[in-house]
């Protein structure tokens, strides 16, 4: 489906020379270096990395907007920047920050324009629109001008707009940015449903790790233009999660104990008014051992153990790899 091999992209960026008025030096920024990966049909892949890692550069190359410096990129047998017009028929793109709908016109008008842009045959258009309206719950929204829709409603319409021409591949660039919790969950459900039922391959970039957890079985993590990890989400967790978090409510004097625990592989996150949170380093000590020490010294009324959220995993990963 998607084959990327040794893909590199370097930009020339002008830097002003200090102390001169017009002096400029050119600096080469390597946005992407020898990126290699492939994605199969129907896969949902989370493409993650910190800001400036090269995520959007990759997406732009894959959607035919940018031409890479070197390397190969073949998507359904086409090279995006060489066969732009043929290639973009196969893809749908949702930019979470921008809209492709007409602000002052009813949503259905934007859909009709897309029908003309993609030259979608009448039958195919009707059928797909019906399916999308049903799947995304757009029935009540179609007649409203886009400016009157909530962000969550709008994002559902954006998804529909990107899928009208039945693309085989969908690029989602931060599809849940700015949405409230309920809308986020709705959008994730929809993406999942659409991909399963229409066999769409999805590449998803996001900063919200819950998106990844809900949607992607596979993640590609990049930093500074290079691929750092490519594999299952659970494997990533297993590889980088060496801690568990204990939250406890207690009565009694715990300071001496806590400082003793801190020197034995525990990191205190917070402790006040009889409530403490700490991370246990599993390479130094065990959860059971810590709990035992807590219960034997303090009067514990409630205790819970959690694996860290994927967010924390990523933050730690970034730190570890010095991104």
């Amino acid at each position: 489906m998607i084959e990327i091999e040794d893909l590199s992209k370097a930009f020339q960026v002008a830097r002003k020379k200090e102390g001169t008025w017009f002096g400029r030096t050119w600096e080469t920024v390597r946005a992407l270096e020898e990126m290699t990966f492939s994605v199969g049909r129907g896969e949902i892949v989370g493409y993650i990395g910190p800001n400036g890692a090269g995520k959007s550069t990759t997406i732009k190359i894959m959607s035919g907007i940018l031409v890479p410096t070197s390397g190969r990129c073949e998507i359904m047998g086409l090279t995006p920047w060489k066969d732009r017009v043929a290639h973009v028929r196969n893809i749908g793109v949702v930019f979470g920050q921008r809209t492709q709908l007409w602000w002052d016109l009813p949503v259905s008008d934007s859909f009709l324009l897309l029908k003309d842009i993609y030259r979608i045959p009448e039958n195919s258009f009707r059928e797909q629109l019906e399916w999308l309206v049903e799947a995304l719950g757009l029935e009540a929204l179609l007649t409203f001008p886009v400016r009157q829709l909530s962000l969550g409603q709008r994002m559902r319409c954006e998804l529909a707009a990107a899928l009208l021409h039945r693309p085989s591949i969908l690029f989602l660039d931060e599809p849940t940015i700015g949405l409230d919790a309920v809308s986020k969950i709705a959008v994730r459900k929809i993406v999942k449903k659409v991909c399963a039922e229409q066999q769409v391959t999805v590449l998803l970039t996001t900063h919200d790790m819950n998106d990844i957890e809900a949607l992607a079985e596979r993640v590609i993590l990049i930093g500074k233009g290079r691929k750092l990890y490519d594999g299952g989400l659970n494997a990533l967790k297993a590889r980088y999660v060496h801690t568990k978090r204990i939250t406890a409510e207690y009565a009694g004097e715990g300071e001496a104990l806590l400082s003793a625990l801190e020197s034995a592989g525990c990191r205190l996150i917070s402790s006040d008014a009889g409530r403490l949170t700490m991370d246990v380093d599993l390479e130094v000590t065990g959860v059971a051992e810590v709990i035992q020490r807590l219960t034997s010294h303090l009067n514990i009324s409630d205790i819970s153990v959690d694996a860290p959220a994927i967010d924390d995993v990523i933050v730690r990963l970034y730190e570890e790899l010095a991104l």
């Binding site: 017009v85 492709q100 842009i117 993609y118």
Partner: protein
């Protein structure tokens, strides 16, 4: 064509969503060039002629230039305000659609408030035709129509060529107005009244001469310019679109290799 029509209808409907603002701006677009024409008429009343040209001759050129310009501001607005398309990232969106880029940029923006200018210039144009200082012939009619079309071609080429600059620099594009707005103001008068250097500039750099003084010689039967070929000289204005198109394509390719 069908797609372009849909774009046009959508822009019109979008702009009518804000009715008061729309009609007021349209009225303004009607009045502002009208004031400049009124000033022109007053000067002629005082001085009679400008070189050998009468008010109706000049009004004819005024009509041609304003019509061509208004048409461009209405339908070629996408190129006129192209920098905003690049800044907002909307240009990326156009690139991921399976259509010709020029067509999509044309569809990206149209400004129907320019209808005011269009109506105003049509009124002056019709008045100038009715009060011409010379006899109309069929060929002269053809020539006049070509002047308008050639003028549209030149303005469109200017808009398109300068839109390309947006791929390199976003700010400091005011210099562009020197050519578009400046060209419009200059070409309202017969270019023969200007110093030689300016005439040359508007002949070879920006070919307004071929839709302006040259066909006007033909229309007013200036000796030496009676040959029918001069009626078709305005077509050269359309040729300006060729280099503009190549410059534009070069810009798009540059954008695709640099991003920015």
């Amino acid at each position: 064509m069908k797609l372009l029509w849909r774009y046009t209808v959508y822009h019109f409907r979008s702009q009518l969503e804000y009715r008061v603002s729309f009609w007021l701006t349209t009225l303004g677009q009607f009045l502002v060039p009208f004031v400049s024409f009124a000033g022109m008429a007053l000067l002629f009343r005082q001085f009679g002629t400008l070189e050998q040209w009468t008010l109706s001759d000049v009004a004819l050129l005024y009509g041609v230039t304003q019509l061509a310009f208004a048409f461009n501001e209405l339908f070629i607005r996408g190129f006129d305000s192209f920098s905003s398309l690049v800044v907002s990232g909307e240009f990326d969106r156009l690139l991921v659609r399976p259509r010709n880029m020029v067509l999509q940029v044309l569809g990206s923006k149209q400004d129907f408030t320019r209808f005011g200018r269009l109506v105003q210039s049509t009124i002056v144009f019709v008045w100038a035709i009715a009060n011409a200082s010379f006899q109309w012939t069929f060929l002269k009619g053809v020539c006049l129509a070509l002047m308008v079309f050639g003028g549209m071609g030149i303005f469109a080429a200017l808009f398109m060529g300068f839109a390309t600059l947006s791929f390199w620099t976003i700010k400091g594009l005011e210099v562009v107005n020197l050519f578009t707005d400046g060209g419009r103001e200059m070409a309202q008068y017969p270019l023969t009244i200007y110093p030689k250097a300016i005439q040359r500039f508007f002949t070879f750099a920006v070919p307004f001469f071929v839709v302006n003084a040259l066909p006007l010689f033909f229309l007013t039967d200036v000796p030496g310019y009676e040959a029918a070929i001069y009626a078709f000289v305005p077509l050269i204005g359309f040729l300006a679109l060729v280099p503009a198109y190549f410059i534009w394509n070069y810009g798009v390719r540059h954008y695709q290799s640099t991003g920015s």
